[in-house]
């Protein structure tokens, strides 16, 4: 910072020069900061902040905090974006892979493999909820399926299993989740969207959906739900997004 009382500055330089130099220095400093990822050394500090944030987020979390949709809100319908990581829409190929089933295993007393028909026979719930995308958009949808807590009861999950991994057949996509969020009453393993069977664009045959998690935590194209003692990251989590991703 320049000393304003420096007489070479005040008397030696025309005031317009002073302003030009001042603004040039300021814009140089700004340009250096812009469009950059910030200093590499900050990476550790950001990780530390993320760990602390997870603590705050989990402390705030309650099963009684329910997502409510304003009655005036319209359903997204065909305006709902569909994301996947494979080059094309992932579709379960029955001729190559046999019949689709959902494996629920890990730290459970009664591991199961459920067909779509098995899932549909379990108690059905429908939630009209918000979809919170990490990008900032929201969409209103009605998800129909089985409450996750119902599945946890069915397999008699070990209380020591504090985390769940949701795995898919969309390449290596998976995301792990804390058990509190997974057992939230609005977390469902969904096979229906807006009154119809789930389409491949939105995760058919079944996907996890919860308004208490950002979109990327809600794995589509489910193949396996694993109860675990520790989190194991996830597709986007390993690429730099927050692991918690809660709303």
């Amino acid at each position: 910072m320049k000393e304003p009382r420096d007489f070479t500055l005040i008397n030696g330089i025309h005031r317009r020069d002073f302003l030009v130099r001042g603004s040039a220095a300021l814009s140089a400093a700004l340009l250096a900061a812009c469009e950059s990822r910030g200093p590499k050394a900050a990476e550790k500090l950001l990780r530390y902040a993320e760990r602390k944030n997870i603590g705050v987020e989990r402390a705030l979390f309650r099963h009684t905090h329910i997502d409510k949709v304003r009655s005036s809100a319209y359903e997204a319908g065909n305006k709902l974006p569909s994301y996947f990581v494979s080059p094309t829409v992932p579709v379960w190929d029955e001729s190559a892979r046999g019949k689709w089933s959902l494996e629920v295993s890990g730290m459970v007393a009664n591991p199961v493999k459920l067909s779509l028909a098995d899932l549909q026979r379990l108690p059905q719930v429908s939630n009209r909820v918000n979809h919170y995308c990490v990008e900032g958009w929201t969409a209103v949808e009605t998800w129909t399926g089985v409450a996750f807590s119902e599945l946890a009861r069915l397999v008699r999950a070990d209380p020591k299993a504090r985390y769940v991994d949701f795995q898919s057949f969309d390449d290596d996509y998976h995301e792990s989740c804390d058990i509190e969020s997974a057992t939230h009453p609005q977390t469902v393993v969904a096979y229906g969207l807006d009154g119809k069977m789930l389409e491949p664009a939105h995760g058919a045959p079944a996907r996890v959906f919860s308004p208490v998690k950002l979109g990327y935590k809600n794995t589509k194209y489910l193949t396996k739900i694993a109860f675990m003692p520790a989190p194991n990251g996830g597709y986007w989590t390993d690429r730099g997004y927050e692991w918690y991703g809660g709303t």
């Binding site: 302003l19 300021l26 900061a33 812009c34 987020e57 969409a139 690429r239």
Partner: protein, 245 residues
């Protein structure tokens, strides 16, 4: 003679705030660019004329969405805690008296505007700040509090649902968060412009804490770009104005 103008807590929180605001705005705009619109999917949004137009990349910070979010969610604590320290200090130290709006402020602001637009010759008499400064320095913390609250509302729209509802739901809370950011940017840009155009000597006072009242805008009768240089008492004394001879 130099006079103490800013307590060290005010100076430290000021510069921490500069860093925090620049990073929060830059990373916030990077996050915004991931979905540069406010409409819920399947709806239209009434009140933003630039829906789906991203802001220029050179205004952004964090490199990509995840990087910007990590910066935003780390720096938010610095911004909030720093703001809390400042507000607590200003309250306990009585400096809030220099900043809260008072009855004569509208009249005094009008006089400042008249002075800046050459419709008044002499600088209006002022205390620590002129009426326009007071307004800006009062609005900035208010906007800061609003930014934190709307930010919390869109960070935790389910867990803090009552707060989000208070701002009209997620879509509107996100909009108010954006509008608050624009307000803070406008106030800050005017502030920095006026520092350089009217009172560059105040930069020193925000670093060392000392300020020479003889260099104040009131003493210099300074308008933007006018009377930036101090009146040099020794020179004027040695050579009296010729027209008076």
């Amino acid at each position: 003679m130099a006079k103490k103008r800013h307590h060290w807590i005010v100076r430290v929180t000021h510069w921490v705030n500069v860093v925090a605001i620049v990073i929060m705005v830059g990373s916030g705009l990077q996050i915004f660019n991931a979905y540069p619109a406010f409409a819920r999917k399947g709806e239209l949004f009434c009140c933003y004329p630039f829906e789906h137009h991203p802001v220029p990349a050179w205004l952004t910070f964090g490199g990509w969405l995840a990087g910007a979010r990590n910066w935003h969610f780390a720096m938010m604590w610095v911004l909030a805690i720093n703001g809390l320290v400042y507000l607590t200090f200003v309250y306990l130290h009585g400096e809030w008296r220099d900043l809260v709006p008072r009855k004569g402020d509208v009249r005094d602001s009008w006089q400042m505007i008249k002075f800046y637009t050459f419709r008044r010759k002499d600088h209006p008499h002022q205390g620590k700040h002129n009426a326009l400064q007071k307004t800006a320095y009062f609005l900035l913390p208010v906007a800061g509090i609003f930014a934190v609250l709307t930010g919390l509302a869109i960070w935790k729209p389910v867990q803090l649902a009552p707060l989000t509802s208070l701002f009209g739901g997620y879509v509107w809370a996100r909009y108010w968060h954006f509008i608050t950011m624009v307000t803070i940017v406008i106030l800050s840009v005017i502030h920095v412009f006026m520092v350089f155009a009217v009172d560059p000597y105040s930069i020193k006072s925000m670093i060392t804490g000392n300020y020479d009242p003889a260099l104040s805008p009131e003493a210099r009768n300074a308008r933007p770009f006018y009377n930036l240089l101090p009146k040099r008492a020794s020179v004027t004394a040695a050579t009296p104005p010729t027209e008076q001879l």
